[in-house]
């Protein structure tokens, strides 16, 4: 079993017989190897039952002089395939619980992958999993018809002056990025196939997931829950940059937003003055 886990499965199988992965984030890799393990068991069962059926159909097709034996059943056989099916499911359960930790629980961030916000206060219901040292880069993901809005942390509790972006999320590599996912109109579902599973953005609720990307690059996905006519156009992508480049992007983005805010404020003041002068 362990030997199988370590077999590198070529990229060719991705998207044909197995889910996508490739960003190096452990949850997507874990799901993929769990899928492949179940796939091997499933293939054995499928081939076995098909073989039994085909053999039976060929061997016992009606022929001259053939006599059907009048069997009503066999309790030993009934018990044995009930137990057999149960054992396969026990095996799948065991494999699932072994792999579950790596999929569900985030690893600690790389020491060099700052800026990391200080300890995040986990949600009261305990659904948000945090790494051992508790340090994550937490981004808020807000779904609205038909775009994703991301809010980046700045260390304080006021989220109104934070850096934000639409559609493209930029993250540092090596950092455990924790996502708080919610929606402000209808349901959406956050999904970047190479970065692990999908998590629904349900209005009135907060959903959590995480990823930890090893390789810089762009990872694409789209909304996976029907959210209206342009559901198909609600795309998302994650751009992973090395920490230094990420820092540069973050500063530039913050400067741009500040600049735009200032211009808006100036325009507002001018308008106020103009109306006061009348």
């Amino acid at each position: 079993m362990a030997a199988f886990l370590s077999i590198p499965v070529g990229g060719a199988s991705a998207g044909i017989v197995a889910p996508e992965s490739g960003g190096g984030t452990p949850n997507a890799e874990g799901i993929r190897s769990l899928y492949l393990l179940i796939g091997v068991l499933a293939l054995i069962v499928f081939i076995g039952v098909c073989g039994l059926l085909i053999y039976t159909l060929v061997k016992y097709r009606a022929s001259r002089g053939g006599v059907a034996s009048q069997i009503h059943g066999n309790n030993k056989l009934e018990v044995s395939w009930t137990v057999g099916a149960a054992l396969i499911l026990v095996l799948i359960s065991v494999v699932t619980f072994i792999k579950l930790g790596g999929i569900y629980e985030p690893p600690s961030s790389d020491a060099r992958s700052l800026p990391l916000t200080s300890k995040v206060i986990p949600a009261a219901d305990g659904r948000q999993k945090l790494p051992e040292n508790g340090r994550v880069y937490q981004i808020d993901v807000n779904g609205l018809q038909y775009v994703w809005r991301y809010t980046y942390p700045d260390g304080d509790t006021n989220n109104l002056n934070n850096v934000f972006s639409y559609e493209e999320m930029v993250v540092p590599t090596g950092a455990t990025v924790a996502l708080r996912i919610y929606a402000q109109d209808v349901q959406h579902s956050w999904w970047i196939p190479k970065l692990g599973g999908k998590f629904d953005a349900v209005p009135g609720y907060v959903n959590y997931t995480w990823f930890n990307i090893k390789e810089p690059g762009v990872y694409k996905g789209q909304c996976a829950e029907l959210c209206g006519r342009n559901h198909a156009n609600m795309v998302a992508q994650v751009r992973a940059l090395p920490p230094a480049k990420f820092k540069a992007w973050y500063d530039a983005q913050r400067a741009e937003i500040r600049n735009a805010d200032d211009q808006a404020a100036r325009a507002r003041n001018l308008a106020v003055k103009a109306s006061a002068g009348k």
């Binding site: 097709r61 059907a68 799948i92 196939p193 629904d200 559901h231």
Partner: protein, 566 residues
Amino acid sequence: MTTAPTTAPTRTEPAPVPEIIAHNANPQPSGWLSWLTTTDHKKIGIMYMAAGWLFFVVGGVEALVIRLQLAQADSTLITPQTYNALFTMHGTTMVFLFLIPMIAGFANYLVPLMIGARDMAFPKLNALSFWLLVAGGVVFYGSLLYSPAECGWTCYAPLSETAYSPTNGVDAWIFLIHLTGISSFIGALNIFVTIANMRAPGMTWSRVPLFVWTMLTQSILLIIALPVIAGAVTMLLTDRQFGTHFFDPSNGGSPMLWQHLFWFFGHPEVYILVLPAFGMISEILPVFARKPIFGYRAIVAATLGIAVIGTLVWAHHMFTTPLPYAVLILFMMGTFLIAIPTGVKIFNWAFTLWRGTIEFTVPTLFSIGFLFTFLLGGITGVFLAVFPVDWQLHDTYFVVAHFHYTIVGGAVFGILAGLYFWFPKFSGRMLGERLGKMSFWTIMIGFWVTFLIQHSAGLSGMPRRVYEYADVGNLEIYNLISTIGSFILAVGILLTIINIVVSVRSGAKAGPDPWKANTLEWFTPSPPPRNNFDTVPRVRSVEPMKDIRRQIERQDRRTEEAATPA
């Protein structure tokens, strides 16, 4: 004293024929009026099946337009609005207006005959069930005149609330759920009462045919599940019309509530569609293997087991929503459990064929097609039951492929097997064997070409319910293959429709028992007279027709022996 000699009848006079004279009996209506006013379970059954076929064609055409739109990446054939309306109508039609009525049609026609009854327990209620279904279909398709619903057959709130679905399409959808729901609910009560009370003398529970067992179980599932969806759509209706905010989070409501209520109905619904097909397969395979069913009691137990577990696993449709970890694990393990009785059934069917003499008639072929297709659908279900794996596969074309393998491979192939098997009983004529085999192979090839590749589309990241996609990876090729397959599938279905139309007039005469089958419906002429049975035979085993044939053989032999001088 003088009358004494007259009491001894003289042998030359013919015995008086017993005669029942009814006074003030109205003449039976004939022609189309006889269909509109009928309370005969057989006529109602045929009307149900005809309505089912009509909506099957409509839902099928909707699917073909969907497949045409997806044949190319970035297609502009139809608008997003039309696309969303089409998949909403396709799903709703196939579940509520094709499969449910089609199964109700078979059940109406066959259950009383199989248990040796002369009609259903409540014939007038039975007619009401059918006409409510028609009303549901009319109301739903009436929305084509204004603006059909665009929220999918699941109609998740808040998307289905007035703020995001302002037109009345959703209200028409709600009305359809109510009307077809009441139709199914009283239909289920009728079936349940009929089976519980009207069985032939000697038909104990261990001699009830397996199709009847599955219909009994299905009717219980309907009685459990339908009130819940009726409540849910009523809450949606009051949300939309009176501002009750049951599903609106900004006013203390919850979108999760809708999902729980919908799937508490929606998951048993899957078994409501598939169990009767299991029953049909369990009737057909023994006839053509010329063997008794393998493990009758195990199959009954598995049917009941599937029903019990099936009502307790609804949240596996919600693995990606904000649910506590413990709930995810509980529903994953529960879903695993269902695989056990389902697996038991597949082995029982395989061993029914084992050491038989299998005749490859069209009903046998569709039953075998069912076994292979449903097997794969069941196996992909195990992947989806593992919640971390479901996080990748949920709401993608992998799921679309999975449920078509179970619902088409299970329910539809079962129904087609049943159609070829019981059509001689319904009409008195056989369906064409050659055309039937052509139809079978076209349908099988078309189905596997359409849906096998959709697993790959899902694994490549294609979500369901998208009106367009970019050609990333091999998505365009996958979708083109699927579209080509869907048209092959459509040709196969068309061949069976042609077969029905041709055979109903000019098919070979069937006679009462063309297949030498096992159950009581074959004791009657084809089609059966209005009262079904002049005398109801006493049932001594689960295969009463086999007993009756043996008895006749014995009698023939005795009369032959008596006739031939020693």
